[in-house]
């Protein structure tokens, strides 16, 4: 049964009934809290070198062991979670902004604007994303801000397609004709009237996008192209894991699990949001 209420109210109701999605959301909140409180919760300085404790296995003093310089892996992972959080949100923020602007312009104006912008999208989609990212990193210095910007610049195409599709149908609706008749300018029509109604799929895509951005960043840092040592990130701890693959399994196992859980949480939330925000799925009662 569908009771009256706002879209967000109804969506939240459906979302909160999805146990996996709620679990994902709680995990994300916990991870965000750990990242914010890193200076407090971290057991030690993540860059403190201890030559007497090189590559020591997990123990009560070093829960996740130490790395090749005797640094505490748990501390490095806690500080590394800040990187993941930052990369996820900033990269997706950039991607969404570009995608919304291009998709809105294409869908709203149609015609030649639409075909030029959509061919641009096609061209961008033809490039293997990692190739584009690597090419830009080759030119600029690898750093966390470079990474965030490039992941954003190469990740907006699907958002643009989604927004365009929404705009194509929404702009034909009566309330837009009414707003136009009332004298609303294009910019107002786009941002005040159409965009708010087109945002649901964007939120879903953004959530999956954060998961993807975290995966990409960890992969790049793993290859030595992302966050540069001594700054910790989950990806570059794994690089140390690869270098010490025969002797220190803990370097490879724990950061990977952290990435897996984080990305999984965002994917679960994205899935929950998709179901919750799509009114077409509401009639069939349960999932």
């Amino acid at each position: 049964m569908i009771t009256a209420g706002t879209l967000s109210g109804l969506a939240w109701k459906r979302f909160s009934r999805n146990r996996l999605a709620v679990f994902g959301l709680m995990t994300i909140a916990l991870l965000a809290l750990i990242a914010l409180l890193a200076p407090v919760v971290s057991p030690s300085d993540p860059t403190a070198i201890n030559v007497y404790k090189v590559l020591s296995p997990p123990s009560s003093t070093h829960l996740f062991g130490t790395d090749e310089l005797g640094r505490d892996v748990l501390a490095r992972m806690i500080w590394g979670s800040r990187i993941s959080l930052k990369v996820g949100f900033v990269a997706v923020g950039i991607a969404i902004s570009i995608g919304v602007l291009i998709g809105a312009a294409a869908g709203f104006y149609g015609g030649r604007v639409d075909s030029v912008l959509m061919r641009f999208v096609d061209v961008m989609l033809a490039f293997p994303t990692l190739f584009l990212i690597l090419a830009v990193i080759a030119i600029l210095e690898p750093s966390i801000s470079t990474i965030m910007i490039i992941i954003g610049l190469t990740g907006w195409m699907n958002v643009a397609r989604l927004v365009r599709a929404e705009f194509l149908t929404l702009k034909e609706r009566d309330f837009i004709a009414a707003a136009r008749a009332a004298g609303a300018a294009d910019v107002r029509l786009i941002f005040r009237h159409i965009l708010p109604n087109a945002l649901a799929p964007v939120f879903v895509s953004a959530t999956f996008g954060i998961a993807g951005a975290i995966l990409t960043e960890s992969g790049l840092s793993f290859l030595g192209l992302g966050v540069q040592p001594p700054d910790p990130s989950w990806g570059n701890i794994l690089t140390a894991g690869k270098d010490n693959i025969t002797v220190a399994w803990w370097l490879s196992v724990f950061p990977g699990i952290a990435i897996l859980i984080t990305v999984l949480s965002y994917n679960l939330v994205g899935e929950g949001l998709r179901d919750a925000l799509d009114p077409r799925l509401w009639q069939d009662g349960k999932r």
Partner: protein, 326 residues
């Protein structure tokens, strides 16, 4: 059918031009451009030497002229010469492509061979234990960093069990083996790279074929087929599967750029001398001609992958073919 393919090929032309344009722009974003990189290696490079180099690469000309000159050379497959060893880029790429293609084609085959049966089985037994396990696998597949999984597999199969080689594409003593033995040795080296680059795709495509199959099963013509007394297995394979597979083929084509891009990571991890490893090395040494060459070829390979997917789609779906002919 031929006119459909011809039309699709024509539509690719503007895309290829766009690909070259973006490649050119990305590389010329470099502060100082390619010459700075080459001269900063040798401290003694004088201003005069720089000017000579600029002339050599035509970098003293306006950007649009440079672009058209580069484009003209591309038409003859002349990608310039590598900054690193002075060899023609086309030759460097050509010797790297076969391994990368081999791994990608095998991965695509593996994805298709596993994901479609998994998806179909899950759909026909919706809400069963198998279906639920599939969903769990799909989520884990989406969320697992594959380079990490590669690392774990190297530890397990390479170090602990010692049953699979973890680097390169052949053993050191491969030259002394017989041809059968050598092939076997080569395939053994490919097991982990192929399985891992297919991993994400298997998860994605299983989910996709599951939902595609679920959608088809609800159609009226399936009910009709059942109503006229056909066996369930005939209904599923002849009527449902054929229709459910069509969108799956397209998605398989769309996974090509991911596979090619993933080559950078897997070829680096497993020390495979393919295009991805060459690209990584070129990026590290800022070998601009090679970077540009691989960017263009990688994107064009993606277009070819999409084209093949569209053609196979048209082969199974007469509606597309006929519409393309008129």
């Amino acid at each position: 059918m031929l006119s459909y393919i011809a039309k699709r090929l024509l539509l690719m032309i503007p895309l290829v031009i766009g690909i070259t344009l973006i490649t050119f722009i990305v590389v010329h974003l470099a502060p100082g451009g390619p010459v700075e990189v080459e001269t900063e290696m040798s401290m003694k490079a004088s201003a005069q030497a720089r000017e000579n180099l600029k002339k050599l690469y035509g970098l003293d000309k306006p950007l649009h002229e440079q672009y058209f000159a580069w484009l003209k050379r591309l038409l003859t497959f002349d990608f310039g010469t590598s900054f690193v060893d002075g060899r023609p880029v086309s030759g460097k790429i050509a010797e790297r492509i076969p391994v990368t293609l081999e791994i990608n084609v095998l991965s695509l085959a593996l994805i298709f061979a596993l994901a479609v049966p998994i998806g179909v089985l899950a759909a026909t037994r919706q809400y069963s234990l198998f279906d639920k396990l599939t969903t769990v696998f799909v989520f884990l597949g989406f969320s697992t960093p594959t380079f990490w999984l590669a690392l774990l597999c190297m530890i397990l199969f390479g170090v602990t069990l010692g049953i699979l080689p973890i680097s390169g594409i052949r053993s050191i003593d491969a030259a002394e083996m017989g041809s059968v033995e050598r092939l076997f040795d080569h395939l053994k080296h490919l097991v982990l790279p192929v399985a891992l680059s297919a991993f994400g795709g298997i998860a994605g495509l299983s989910r996709y074929s599951r939902s595609s199959m679920l959608e088809v099963i609800r159609q009226d013509y399936i009910r009709t087929a059942r109503a006229k007394g056909l066996q369930e297995s005939t209904v599923l394979t002849r009527h449902a599967l054929r229709n459910a597979l069509m969108p799956v083929v397209t998605i398989l084509g769309l996974s090509v750029p991911g596979l090619i891009g993933g080559a950078v990571i897997f070829e680096t991890i497993f020390a495979i001398p393919g295009m991805g490893q060459l690209f990584y090395a070129s990026a590290m040494s800022r070998d601009y001609p090679t970077i540009m060459g691989i960017l263009v070829i990688g994107a064009v390979l993606t277009l070819v992958g999409n084209l093949l997917a569209d053609i196979s789609y048209a082969l199974v779906d007469p509606r597309i073919r006929v519409k393309g002919d008129t």
